[in-house]
């Protein structure tokens, strides 16, 4: 009975993580389309949700486990998975509150690492794999995506000359529908599987299915629905950052940023390079800002984003380690108490975010997370910006 309750809590935590992954990453696919007016905000998140759901059913080949090779498989228990998931969820909520795009996958990996460290010690964590699967890809993804997007933007503006031919913006908006849809589909295919992997891992640890088995149908369906629901909920704060705060985006830039993201994402997946969707799309938006003559990149926002990326793994690991200390070796009762506390913390984040609400109605108002108009910040002299 206790094991069943524990498994239920872990599966619930995994689906909650999947939900936060969905709403945190809506911006990856739809921020530029919403910013350029190619899609209305509600329509954009609805389209993205449907394609994430479809993507979840397209393939289950990577649903082994996200932390595979990073921690010793024998060290993983249900309390560790639970602690790792909570660490990732809390970090996702922190970055969402600040409107910063950060990698949900890295948060999950960090969470599992932190929980494993306190439970099984340093010998159970493979440092080599962390560098190969997390650190190097985290550096490469934004560089490659921004390079592709920057060059593509330059060429696109030279060829189509959208500044002289305003009608061309309409065609680029049509193109954005296709490119944003592809990013959503790829996101569903990649990220829903990660949660499928976590739940499958929990089921194996609880001897519900045998090692090496495919995820059961209910796992695939529930993960697809959770990520789609999260996507539809819409992480409007992150969408505003990607669409407006990082750089001003025109329709041709939106198209090139999304196309660059899809090209890098699909090529990396095919080549077996574990690059983060968030790092790729953020890098592409940055690159397209650099590629258009006269465009501006707000380096302070970009810097905050990079700091969040650097902090993601250690911060999620720290939270998970703290939770791991409480739940490891304890009973189901302790896990229930921690779950209730976690729900309270998440509710606190939500309430805090209501002080400066961002929704579909005001996502395109160019203001920062404190409600200050970015238009006035843009016009302010550089020294005043630095002082603010």
């Amino acid at each position: 009975m206790h094991d069943a309750a524990l498994l239920f809590i872990v599966v619930t935590a995994a689906l909650t993580f999947d939900f936060t992954n969905g709403f945190h990453d809506t911006a990856n696919a739809m921020a530029t389309s919403i910013a350029t007016g190619a899609l209305k905000p509600k329509a954009a998140v609805a389209l993205s949700a449907v394609l994430n759901l479809v993507g979840a059913f397209l393939s289950i080949k990577v649903a082994a486990t996200i932390a595979g090779g990073i921690v010793a498989s024998g060290a993983i228990t249900l309390p560790i998975v639970f602690a790792g998931l909570l660490g990732a969820i809390v970090w996702n909520m922190v970055t969402w509150s600040l409107g910063l795009p950060s990698s949900s996958s890295h948060a999950l990996i960090g969470g599992v690492i932190g929980a494993t460290l306190v439970s099984a010690g340093t010998s159970a964590v493979h440092g080599h794999s962390i560098i190969a699967k997390v650190v190097i890809p985290a550096v490469l993804a934004p560089i490659l995506a921004s390079l592709v997007a920057m060059l593509a933007t330059r060429l696109s503006y030279r060829i189509a000359r959208p500044d002289e031919r305003p009608r061309s913006h309409r065609y680029f908006r049509y193109g954005q529908l296709a490119s944003a849809s592809l990013v959503s589909l790829a996101h569903g295919t990649n990220d829903a599987q990660k949660t499928m992997g976590v739940i499958t891992l929990a089921l194996i640890a609880d001897h519900q299915i045998s090692p090496g088995a495919d995820p059961p149908a209910w796992v695939i369906v529930s993960c697809g629905v959770a990520i789609a629901a999260g996507t539809y909920f819409g992480g409007w704060r992150v969408i505003r950052t990607m669409g407006h705060r990082l750089t001003h985006i025109e329709a041709p830039q939106g198209f090139t940023a999304q196309t660059a993201s899809v090209a890098v994402l699909l090529t990396a997946t095919q080549g077996g390079l574990p690059l983060s969707t968030t790092h790729i799309t953020s890098g592409a938006v940055l690159g397209t800002g650099l590629g258009r003559r006269g465009s501006d990149v707000r380096w302070r926002v970009a810097g905050s984003m990079v700091i969040a990326w650097v902090l993601t793994l250690p911060a999620a690991a720290l939270v998970a380690a703290g939770i791991g200390l409480i739940v490891d070796g304890g009973g189901t009762g302790q896990i229930i108490v921690v779950s209730v506390a976690a729900v309270a913390v998440l509710a606190g984040f939500w309430l805090w975010s209501r002080r400066h609400p961002v929704s579909a109605d005001n996502v395109n108002d160019a203001s920062d997370r404190f409600g200050r108009s970015l238009n006035s910040i843009e016009r302010a002299p550089v020294l005043e910006q630095a002082a603010s």
Binding site: L58, S59, K61, H128, I131, A132, I136, L140, L144, L147, V148, A149, L151, A152, T153, L155, S156, I159, A160, R161, P162, R165, R167, S168, Y171, F172, G175, A178, L182, L185, A186, T189, P252, F255, T256, T259, A260, V262, A263, V264, L266, T267, A268, T269, Q270, G271, G272, L273
Partner: protein
């Protein structure tokens, strides 16, 4: 870095991503230019512009389809 990552794979991914990303954008931009030319200067050969745009978009669609197929069939 070669201790951690297969540099050949990295090079291949970088080259293919650059070629695909830039190639698709360039083809789409050519299609957009052809379409806007056809609209703004109807005196010129509209049929040729539209044919050029359709050809570019077809290549783009085929490239994306092949890319998706390659990833999903892996």
């Amino acid at each position: 870095m070669s201790d951690y990552l297969d540099l050949v794979v990295l090079r291949n991914v970088a080259v293919v991503a650059l070629v695909a990303g830039i190639g698709i954008t360039v083809l789409f931009s050519v299609a957009v230019r052809a379409m806007t030319s056809a609209e703004e200067q109807p005196g010129q050969s509209v049929a040729v512009s539209r044919l050029l745009a359709a050809g570019c978009l077809l290549i783009v669609a085929a490239t994306v389809a092949v890319g998706l197929w390659a990833v999903l069939a892996k």
